[in-house]
């Protein structure tokens, strides 16, 4: 089986589900003829035609807003917003309507829709193209927030997101799009939307991360292994709902935890994870939970973005602080 990248896994999942379910409609800017700015929708227009792959005018609130109307009519729109920084015009529609339509109509109207968007820094993109503001969406009741970090998880989680009866924000780490290749069977098997994935088992410390930061986190874990430190690595994958049970079980085992994310530190999802660990496993902790995150700054433009993103060295530094905590 040919190995594919994360972006190709996204395409594979979209094609699979469009074939399986005629109600699945892909829409967004440049998703048709151009196949998407990252080529996530390449070939879909040719395969499924212009009634299933809609090149929209350039208006992000509109993309989210019409997805709501389409979803209420029983379609399953999968909307692409070109970059996370351009999802903000759609926040009104997502927060005021998509997330609460089921609740405010007591189940009469629902929004089975997916908003896909590339997110994160590190691809030398222009201004506004490096956002990682997943906490905004995780803070919104009624949404699910999903972040794949490998081709296989992109495939399985996107299938699950499309099939889910509620709105899902699907954040694709653009730095991971073509970073690794993996064989991903096109078998239509979805992954659960409410479970962490343990990428590496370990005894001494728990490293919790998601998205592109898992690349540096796994590097750090391998370095630690060579140093005789056994790190367990957890890919949160679904930021909302948060599978705190898997994280707690790991922390109870290791007694130490570092959370790594590229979003800003203050009010980031790492704060929520640390708070829940302190609420539920304080006496199992051998050291405070540390966070290695982006700084509370605007992501620098491409010349300096590498200084913003947590590096393997910063992760190792935090791990050693945690291990040496007396």
């Amino acid at each position: 089986m040919a190995e594919i990248t994360l972006i190709e896994a996204v395409t594979q999942a979209l094609a699979y589900e469009m074939q399986a379910d005629k109600d699945v409609i892909v829409l967004g800017e440049d998703v048709g003829v151009n196949g998407g700015v990252f080529r996530a929708t390449a070939g879909l227009l040719e395969k499924f035609g212009p009634n299933r792959v809609l090149d929209t005018p350039l208006a992000e609130s509109m993309i989210a807003g019409i997805a709501i109307g389409m979803a209420a009519q029983g379609l399953k729109p999968v909307a692409e917003i070109q970059f996370m920084g351009f999802t903000y015009p759609a926040l009104d529609q997502i927060i005021n309507h998509a997330s609460r339509m089921r609740n405010r109509t007591r189940g009469r109207l629902t929004c089975p829709m997916v908003v896909r968007t590339p997110y994160g820094a590190g691809i030398h993109a222009p201004e506004h193209h490096s956002e990682s503001t997943e906490a905004i969406y995780a803070h919104t009741p009624g949404l699910r927030v999903v972040i794949p970090s490998s081709p296989a998880r992109a495939y399985g989680l996107l299938l699950a997101a499309i099939r889910d009866p509620d709105p899902v924000i699907f954040l694709e780490p653009s730095r991971m799009y073509r970073l690794v290749k993996q064989a991903v069977p096109d078998n239509g098997e979805a992954l659960p939307l409410d479970q962490c994935f343990i990428l590496k088992e370990g005894r001494d410390i728990t490293l919790v991360s998601w998205g592109a930061m898992l690349h540096e986190t796994m590097q750090a874990a391998n370095t630690l292994e060579a140093q005789g430190v056994s790190a367990e690595v957890i890919d949160v994958a679904t930021i909302k709902p948060l599978d705190i049970e898997t994280i707690l079980a790991s922390v109870i085992k290791t007694g130490r935890c570092v959370v790594i994310h590229e979003a800003v530190k203050t009010c980031g999802v790492g704060a929520e994870i640390a708070a829940q660990i302190s609420e539920k496993a304080l006496l199992n902790l051998q050291a405070p939970v540390l966070r290695v995150t982006g700084y509370d700054t605007i992501v620098p433009y491409l010349k300096m973005e590498k200084y913003y993103l947590p590096s393997e060295a910063r992760i190792l530094n935090a791990v050693h602080q945690t291990l040496e905590f007396a």
Partner: protein, 363 residues
């Protein structure tokens, strides 16, 4: 110089403010039963509306936005729509909603602070009232997109106020409707006021109808106090949309005779003389003059119908007041199709705390 495009806005009126025809009436209006039906619906809407305001004033309901004076807009468009069409209202369209199977008690429940008011028992597809101004225009465009994809002969109708036409979502939906030739009708209830901001301060456009031209389709004005004209232009636009002719924007000229809502006091910003003048144009007296002159309506029938409306509304109020309190856990139980595991603990917490009767349950 070469002129590359020209645009014009038509204005439709059949009855003048005294109820005198200004041109031959459309076919449906030659049937006196249809006209009496429109009249009865407008009166019913007004009786309901007055009662809703009383319920708020007497502490039996929350804030309420009156549709006083705008009955012809809602009744006319609701009457023109087919059952299979979908309405995306703002919040002054009760006169349309009642014709679409939505119960008075549901509207009262909504404003009384009960989400179940939007779980319409007899209408599965219409959208609930929409408070974030103009956002519903995109929902209607999405619904119309679904109709187009599935090749269904159905039309989405969105209603908004004059203020909403300043919103980005409104422009975005107008643009898309034109670009995709969507089966959608935009009805702008131009009641001259967006809370305290008058129509003149909202936009420099001579008409709101011309905003359709930016989308590449027709915009027209109608006397929104003339229910015959309302029903006529909306029906025409629906037929056009249903048969592939694309969108229409209808600007209905009317007037908000009440405050913005029961939480507002228009005396602070609105000239009393303007209000008095607007009362001379209101839609119900106008049609009553016409029907009376034609011998289709009488004082006796008026009294009987007023009494019937009061009785119907009173019954709805009793239904509303008798609705049992919502379940404590509803706030969790309708958030997702299936409650995610991370919310189970909080759901149990709300039950436990209610039993303790804490300070957060002020009644």
């Amino acid at each position: 110089m070469t002129i590359v495009a020209t645009f014009s806005v038509e204005y439709t009126q059949f009855l003048d403010p005294q109820g005198k025809p200004t041109q031959p009436l459309p076919n449906f209006a030659t049937n006196c039963e249809e006209l009496v039906e429109l009249y009865r619906r407008m009166v019913l809407t007004r009786v309901f509306d007055a009662k809703a305001v009383v319920l708020q004033r007497t502490g039996k309901m929350g804030t309420y936005p009156s549709s006083l004076g705008q009955e012809a807009v809602a009744v006319g468009l609701g009457n023109a729509m087919r059952k299979e069409d979908v309405l995306c209202p703002a919040y002054r369209e009760t006169g349309a909603q009642f014709q679409r199977g939505i119960k008075m008690s549901e509207i009262l429940a909504y404003w009384g602070g009960d989400e179940r008011g939007s779980c319409f028992q007899a209408n599965q597809d219409d959208f609930p009232l929409c408070v974030p101004i103009g956002t519903q225009s995109l929902h209607a465009a999405g619904i119309a997109t679904a109709f187009k994809i599935r090749q269904q002969p159905r039309v989405a109708v969105m209603v908004c106020g004059d203020g909403a036409t300043s919103q980005g979502d409104f422009y975005e939906s107008v643009n898309l409707a034109g670009a995709w030739n969507l089966p959608i009708v935009f009805v702008v209830n131009n009641n001259q006021w967006a809370i305290s901001v008058p129509r003149s301060a909202q936009t420099h456009c001579q008409t709101l109808a011309q905003k359709a031209f930016a989308g590449g389709f027709a915009g027209e004005q109608v006397d929104g106090n003339d229910v015959i004209a309302m029903r006529y232009v909306v029906e025409r636009a629906l037929e056009k949309a249903r048969t592939g002719g694309g969108p229409t924007l209808i600007e209905a000229i009317t007037y908000r005779l009440h405050d913005h809502t029961t939480a507002d006091d228009a005396n602070r910003y609105r000239d009393k003389a303007e209000l008095n003048k607007a009362w001379e144009l209101e839609p119900i007296a106008r049609l009553r003059h016409y029907l009376t002159a034609q011998g289709h309506w009488s004082e006796g029938e008026e009294a009987k119908w007023q009494a019937a409306c009061s009785q119907q509304v009173e019954q709805a109020v009793q239904e509303y007041l008798a609705i049992p309190a919502p379940s404590l856990t509803d706030m969790f139980d309708y958030l997702y199709a299936k409650l995610p595991h991370d919310l189970i603990e909080q759901r149990e917490q709300v039950i436990a705390e209610a039993k303790l009767g804490g300070d957060n349950h002020h009644g």
